[in-house]
Symmetry: C2
Subunit: 304 residues, 2 copies
């Protein structure tokens, strides 16, 4: 909306030019100022057994898996990744404002790779008991669920009356495609949300993780012109070089990253800085934030 | 999430295999069934003076302008389009999960085209009086505003206490970029939302219309690697062949289309069919819809 120069001057204005009358309370910090002042303990380093590297010709997509939401699916996905099940498969669907989908596309008549040690059949994991899951609730109401917030760094929802929690379909969430039967997903076919949060899918399909880095390699893929965004010509599909668990990748080839913890006072302050934007460009602070508008910053670990 | 074959069988199951016990009420119709049964009066043909054709090498983006929300900006945009102000300019920003932006990018040192009869300075048009605007309210609450719904086919919000209405930043909405001053937009620089609805921008910037067709030509553009999604290399920008008002384009070159009216019982039924998905794939109807999840179907006019 504004030029970089304007954005910079905006930041400078917020940081430098605020009138410093003694009686004024200090202005609430911006998101960037909060992150700049963060401590090491505000960040976490994901377990490499929970990181999936999707390597494409254009670069790497890093996904964090959510084993406490979908233990059976995540277990199967780990097995499949160790077997390099997806290497040489494709991203064969790009549906505008909805999802990209990838895996062993058997529509074109090719045989799917063998499942090996992976299971062909898994239980549906649409929701889980709320008990035993630390849930960090957002201050605002959510239209789709009694409560919205974060758990294990994942956007999530909770129904205290029913004692259930589930992952929420936000931008960048990874899910396991299924057919008509609830338990027809086994993690071989996966999708990532690239549009307005399709929260109607919540509790209807198993979600398995969230993209931490490289979303633009998925979200900017040309849309498929066939029904539901499938490519009509197989040559339009994007080849997958490999999908591997970070824990199986040599150290030197790993992507070092840290994720902002979502259960800290700093995170609450970040949420508030987005609920009510204080940079001087904003004239009307919203006083509200939707779960899927909350950023969860990722960074390269600082040296030392 | 599912293969086309599965989707088709889902539809067939919903349409054909529902047990037909005499005592059962008929199942609520799906969105597609509702559209298939629509009448001519359920559709409207936009005024060609309100249609902007953005012609790119890859095809045409069709935008409907919203003169009752931003009369001064829409007036200026019509003047600029008649003068072919944007022809030969570029889409010079693609910010993942946020916006693409285009117009006369003067960052690279080139002179902006002359404004001609267009005005350099316009009033901010962030909101308008609610009076005099037919507002078709959605059934569900909205976190960002007291009321959400549609007006003139645009996603909109309303505050009855303050007597104000405004357009909502949903996927595909077109806005007028501005600098720090509220009244610093004049319609020469425009942006389109390509990600999760940035509703925090509501009432902070002037919105001027909505993309009806061709969103995928904008949303799938490679993201800019510079700050805020600006392209670092001007060669990455997407050339704009022309931006014209449909009313100035010869009939034979126009794109015939109709838009579903948003103030009819049929539209209410479509909204309900999305609030509670009845196709058999869905096991848990959401019972809720967000303003920016409501589709407003567009079609090629039927023959005859």
């Amino acid at each position: 909306m504004s030029r970089p120069a304007l954005r910079l001057s905006m930041l400078c204005a917020a940081l430098l030019l605020t009138p410093a009358f003694a009686a004024d309370p200090p202005p609430p910090p911006t998101t960037q100022a909060l992150l700049d002042a963060s401590q090491a303990a505000d960040w976490r380093t994901p377990d490499p057994d929970n990181l999936l590297y999707i390597d494409l010709d254009a670069g790497r997509v890093v996904v964090e898996l959510a084993p406490r939401f979908a233990p059976a699916h995540v277990g199967n996905i780990r097995t499949l990744a160790r077997q390099r099940f997806w290497d040489g498969q494709t991203i064969y669907r790009s549906h505008d404002n909805f999802v990209v989908q990838f895996g062993a596309n058997v529509e074109d008549g090719a045989a799917a790779p063998p499942l090996g040690d992976a299971l062909a059949q898994l239980p549906a994991e649409f929701e889980r008991p709320a008990d035993g899951l630390a849930f960090h609730r957002l201050p605002d109401p959510d239209g789709w669920a009694p409560e919205a917030g974060f758990a294990d760094g994942m956007p999530a929802a909770r129904d205290p009356d029913k004692g259930l929690a589930w992952m929420a379909h936000c931008y960048g969430v990874l899910g396991a495609g299924r057919g008509m039967a609830a338990d027809s997903s086994n993690g071989t076919e996966l999708y990532v949300v690239i549009g307005q949060a399709p929260r109607q899918l919540d509790r209807n399909i198993t979600q398995v993780g969230r993209v931490l880095q490289g979303m633009e390699l998925l979200s900017a893929l040309p849309r498929g012109s066939g029904p539901l965004g499938f490519y009509e010509d197989a040559s339009q599909a994007t080849p997958i070089r490999s999908i591997r668990l970070a824990s199986t990748v040599p150290e030197a080839e790993r992507t070092p990253l840290q994720v902002l913890r979502t259960d800290t006072p700093l995170f609450d302050a970040v949420v508030e800085s987005r609920r009510n934007r204080r940079d001087t460009w904003y004239l009307h602070p919203a006083g509200h934030i939707d779960l899927c508008n909350v950023p969860v910053p990722v960074r390269t670990p600082p040296r030392g």
